[in-house]
Symmetry: C2
Subunit: 177 residues, 2 copies
Amino acid sequence: MDTFDTIRNRTSYRGKYKSTPIPKTDLIKILEAGILAPSGCNKQTTSFIAVDDTELLDELKSLIIPPIAETAPAFILVLTQKIFAYRDKCFNIQDYSAAIENMLLAIKALGYESCWYEGHITDDDDIAGKIAKHMNIPDEYKVVCILPVGKPDEETRQTAKKPFESRAWFNGFGKSM
Amino acid sequence: MDTFDTIRNRTSYRGKYKSTPIPKTDLIKILEAGILAPSGCNKQTTSFIAVDDTELLDELKSLIIPPIAETAPAFILVLTQKIFAYRDKCFNIQDYSAAIENMLLAIKALGYESCWYEGHITDDDDIAGKIAKHMNIPDEYKVVCILPVGKPDEETRQTAKKPFESRAWFNGFGKSM
């Protein structure tokens, strides 16, 4: 799929997924897209766990209350490490966000849907922490996001955006072309 | 350009640029890619200023010491606002990072090169603040990143990445497929 079409058609999909399993080759392509994202001073602070084992997937889903993407046949867990780029500067949020965006585009380009679930699992009830504990993820890695992956079973819809001229300008603040 | 080719071929380009101006239509496509990125609770905290006016561009470049992308015919300044998504939660870093990644891919897909310059301008010497002051950008917007845009005048090269199996796993931490 053309890059601009992918960027234009990506949506935050919160509907039901078809149960069709995701071929491992597609999961690998999605993870590779994540790995290929840039990172501050190339510290590569982001890691990934694809989950498509139905038993493990069900266990993880049971930890997520209220539930998200209950019908998705696969999850990608995004993990981050707080590695300093230099002095006290750490760009791990930037790093994992760029990796997530790359993966969302890869998911779309392969004909699947997804949604960036971060706030839902990193809120005060610490669902992400429960997932990390259940999976014995070492303390230096923090789970920050879940991306479901699957074929949509409902219609997708675009999120409304503010008009171009209220967010993008030329040669001065608030200046149109 | 195909989505996966774009993701694969994107690099952090720090070489010289050709002086060829960037057509406005291309700058618009790049900015649109930024606008189309997802944002936490759709708060759309990221804004953009494309700078291709040679006088203004030279003024901005003179504020950047040590210099970056001195030969680039255009800059895109990335601006962020600290808008809360809910309670005290703000996802503006995630928002602008996803927007930057979308723009880096758009830039590559159009045949240009770029590089994510954030730490260089947001360090203690606050180059970003000097740019904001020079351009009378309101206090509630913070300049966080510069993306140069231009045709490369030197060879691009890929950044070395850790092997797949040290960052991406299946159904368990550290587990290969």
